[in-house]
């Protein structure tokens, strides 16, 4: 097998026309290890300290509400106004704060999470790709550096992943065919790249033993390979050779961990509690992965009518499907994490790459009975870990067209996520001698969000 390591390779899930064999999967994993050797170990500098929290979270579930959920139909409703749309609003446990009427369970759990209503993106009209990059990385430009900067998930995997972990530190559950470099590890090296799985409780064929190879046979082959490798490593303690071995261990760890994706191993009542939807399966899988030690799970709400990019007949779809599923599953995940003692150690983020226009569309270009893209102001949810729940950050005007108080950028959120995880955002990753700051953009930490 010819190994062609790249610095931002993403190990793709096999798709029609993009299938990989188990052998190729192993080879790619090895390539990941080789690629990492070019980093000189991604050594870090520690500069000035970013805020510290008393009990930082140890792991992240990042729910990417792909396509852009409407802030007016979720966390910043404006019923009865010209922009209000057809939905009503209901009270939450925060006095004076109302959510969309189709989020009744979340409205009763507001003690446990915070909402930001004054978030602003990079491009006012919303651009899926560029705003997605901003949302998943905290920056929207690579221009200052001649390298691809790592995504949030990769930095968390780098900072919070265990050195001897058998599983990847950054797992993405998504049926999306779209693999953008900014979703990956960039200059951090492929060791910290995302490992993408299709979600919905499906396991990778590539992580299973090849047909015709028994468990005993596979074990015998592994033992032989280890023996040969040990012999090879004698007197060769170079980092590259060790990384090569680590990659084999991680690939083997993944093969042994396919059970993590097998939701039939969960009791019926747990599966029924989450429900039958794709989002439910992905949240349950994410919880299982966290329990197994994976520090970062990205759930991408994507797929046929499972994303949030509804230009047409949006209100029917939202009220009769999307919002109900989101409300039920997200609150179930919160409850499940709390009951298992994981909530205080987990940072949960639910956000889209932008929101939707206050004006309601009326043609094919702008959507009919729907709203178009809008990043001027939108809303998101975060909770768990050291996030102080029971509050709303920021306000918008009565029509939801302008931010009226406490404007927050995506980069400001990153200046909050990292401290919430005990990561100093001023830390610099040294890549080929070049110091790459973890989080450069943004003006300030949203300090009121941190406990």
């Amino acid at each position: 097998v010819e190994l062609k390591p790249t610095s931002n390779a993403i190990v793709r899930w096999p798709q029609p026309g993009n299938s990989i064999s188990r052998r190729e999967f192993m080879a790619r994993s090895v390539a990941c290890g080789l690629a990492a050797t070019g980093l000189g170990g991604a050594a870090v500098d520690v500069a000035t300290a970013s805020p510290t929290v008393r009990k930082p979270a140890k792991r992240v579930i990042f729910v990417l509400m792909s396509g852009g959920p409407s802030q007016l139909e979720t966390f910043d409703p404006k019923p009865g106004t010209p922009t209000g749309g057809p939905f009503g609003a209901i009270p939450t446990r925060i006095p004076g704060v109302r959510f969309c009427e189709y989020l009744p369970r979340l409205a009763q759990m507001t003690d446990h999470f915070a909402v930001v209503r004054s978030l602003t993106g990079a491009h006012p009209a919303g651009d899926h790709i560029r705003d997605l990059q901003y949302t998943l990385t905290g920056h929207f430009s690579n221009s200052r550096f001649q390298v691809t900067r790592p995504s949030f998930g990769s930095i968390v995997a780098h900072e919070l992943g265990k050195r001897d972990a058998k599983l990847p530190g950054y797992i993405c559950l998504s049926p999306s065919w779209h693999d953008a470099a900014f979703q990956g590890a960039g200059c951090l090296g492929a060791k910290y790249d995302l490992m993408k799985f299709p979600g919905y409780g499906q396991v990778s064929g590539a992580t299973a033993r090849a047909d015709g190879v028994s468990e005993a046979g596979f074990h015998a082959r592994s033992t032989l390979r280890d023996a040969v490798s040990r012999q090879f490593l004698q007197g060769r303690q170079a980092r590259s050779a060790l990384r090569y071995e680590e990659s084999f261990a991680r690939a083997r760890g993944l093969m042994e961990s396919s059970r993590l994706f097998d939701l039939s191993r969960e009791p019926d009542k747990v599966r029924q509690r989450y429900g039958p939807t794709r989002y439910a399966a992905d949240c349950l899988t994410a919880r299982r992965l966290l329990e197994a030690g994976v520090p970062f799970v990205l759930i991408q709400c994507f797929g046929t009518r499972c994303d949030w990019d509804w230009h047409y007949e949006a209100f029917s779809h939202l009220s009769k499907y999307m919002l109900g599923v989101f409300d039920h599953v997200t609150t179930t995940l919160m409850e499940d994490l709390r009951e298992r003692g994981l909530w205080d150690e987990t940072l949960l983020i639910c956000t889209g790459e932008f929101g939707r226009t206050p004006a309601i569309g009326s043609n094919e270009a702008n959507g009919y009975s729907g709203r178009a893209h809008y990043a001027k102001n939108f809303a998101m949810l975060l909770g768990g870990g050291s996030i102080r729940g029971g509050q709303v950050v920021g306000t918008t005007n009565k029509d939801g067209t302008e931010i009226t108080a406490r404007p927050v950028t995506v980069a400001d959120l990153y200046r909050t996520y990292y401290p919430a995880l005990g990561i100093n955002f001023d830390k610099k990753l040294r890549v080929s001698g070049q110091p790459i700051p973890i989080q450069e953009e943004g003006k300030e930490t949203i300090s009121e969000l941190l406990a």
Binding site: P79, G80, T81, P82, T83, G84, P86, F87, G88, P175, Y200, G275, P276, T277, R278, A281, G303, T304, R305, C306, Y312, E313, F315, S316, H317, S319, K320, Y321, P358, A359, I360, G361, S362, N363, E364, Y368, S369, D399, T401
Partner: protein
């Protein structure tokens, strides 16, 4: 002899929905249309929470537009009739004086032409009211909602009469048979449910498979909203049923349920003319009229607009009105 081509109807008039920035930001879609013949107006339900009135031109129009010329849009007028939120459907009582409206506020309101306040208003469903339809004799008003129920109300007093509950899916459309004996309901599951009204009995369910599938979620029941049947109507002669929705138009024999016509393409509005010769329906960006006499499309009206939510015949079938998401109502002449 060359096959005859569909005719192009002449656009007589365009009405533009009035925009009231204090009420609605954007261009309000037209969700339903019904003529009020004695007042020579066309009523339109709109997303801006109000009912709009289009004053119909004289018949024949005093100054018809020249062939190929687009008439200037005439502003429609807001009535005082409103809901707390979107008005989804309206229907005119056979007496021509009363009008029922239903909306996303879960309420039905009964109005009288010439009066600003409703004669009656009440919470009708636990979720959005999607359709309202008076029986041909006016004694009953039927409503259908996203609570998956059909409800019957007294046409005079608006008191509840019965609840028909056997659908199990969101309902979008209602149609009375010409004799008023049967009520048809259609919705998300792509089935036409036929009720014998006097007995409150579900007599048939006709599956026309117009569902919106979630291929990625087989465990979740396989289909999502919005989908299924979006428009439903019965011919005046009692012989045919037409249903239109996400993927196609279906015309069936009323008595047997036997398929008569199927046209692929997304549609919302469907209407028989009073003679039962013509069936008008929206299909993608076009408005088509099927001629049952010739078995062909008789008129092809390129509207170039997705989301034509409702259509209706006027003036004894000589005109056709269409309205939808661009906030305009078109009035078409079918006599040329």
């Amino acid at each position: 002899m060359a096959p005859s081509q569909p005719k192009a109807a002449r656009l007589l008039q365009t009405f533009a929905m009035p925009v009231d920035a204090a009420m609605f930001s954007g261009v309000p879609s037209v969700t339903a249309l019904k003529p009020l013949p004695h007042a020579r107006v066309l009523l339109a339900a709109a997303m801006d929470r109000r009912v709009v009135c289009c004053e119909l031109p004289a018949d024949p129009p005093k100054t018809p537009p020249a062939p190929g010329q687009q008439p200037a849009a005439v502003p429609a007028k807001h009535l005082a009739w409103s809901h707390e939120n979107w008005v989804h459907d309206l229907d005119v009582h056979p007496d021509g004086k009363r009008v029922a409206t239903g909306g996303t506020d879960r309420r039905i309101k009964i109005w009288k032409w010439g009066q600003e306040k409703p004669l009656a208003e009440f919470k009708a469903h636990e979720d959005w009211v999607r359709a309202v339809a008076f029986a041909p004799d006016g004694r009953l008003l039927a409503s259908a909602g996203d609570d998956c129920l059909v409800r019957l109300w007294d046409g005079e007093t608006a008191r509840p009469v019965a609840t028909l509950d056997a659908h199990g899916s969101f309902l979008d459309s209602l149609a009375w048979s010409a004799d008023g004996q049967q009520l048809l309901a259609g919705g998300n599951d792509g089935r036409i449910h036929v009720w014998k009204v006097a007995a409150r009995q579900l007599t048939r369910s006709i599956d026309i498979d117009n569902r919106r599938l979630i291929e990625d979620e087989p465990l979740n029941g396989g289909f999502s909203y919005p989908g299924g049947i979006r428009g439903l109507t019965c011919s005046r002669d009692g012989k045919l049923i037409a249903a239109i929705g996400l993927t196609s138009l279906h015309v069936l024999e009323s008595a047997s349920g036997k398929p008569v016509l199927k046209q692929d393409g997304r549609g919302f509005g469907v209407a028989f003319d009073p003679t039962s010769r013509w069936l008008a329906f929206s299909q993608e960006k076009d408005l088509l009229l099927w001629d049952f006499q010739t078995g062909k499309v008789g008129y092809h009206i390129p509207v170039d607009q997705l989301g034509l939510f409702d259509i209706c015949f006027l003036n004894g079938g000589k005109q056709l009105a269409s309205g939808g998401c661009n906030g305009k109502v078109g009035l078409w002449d079918l006599t040329a």
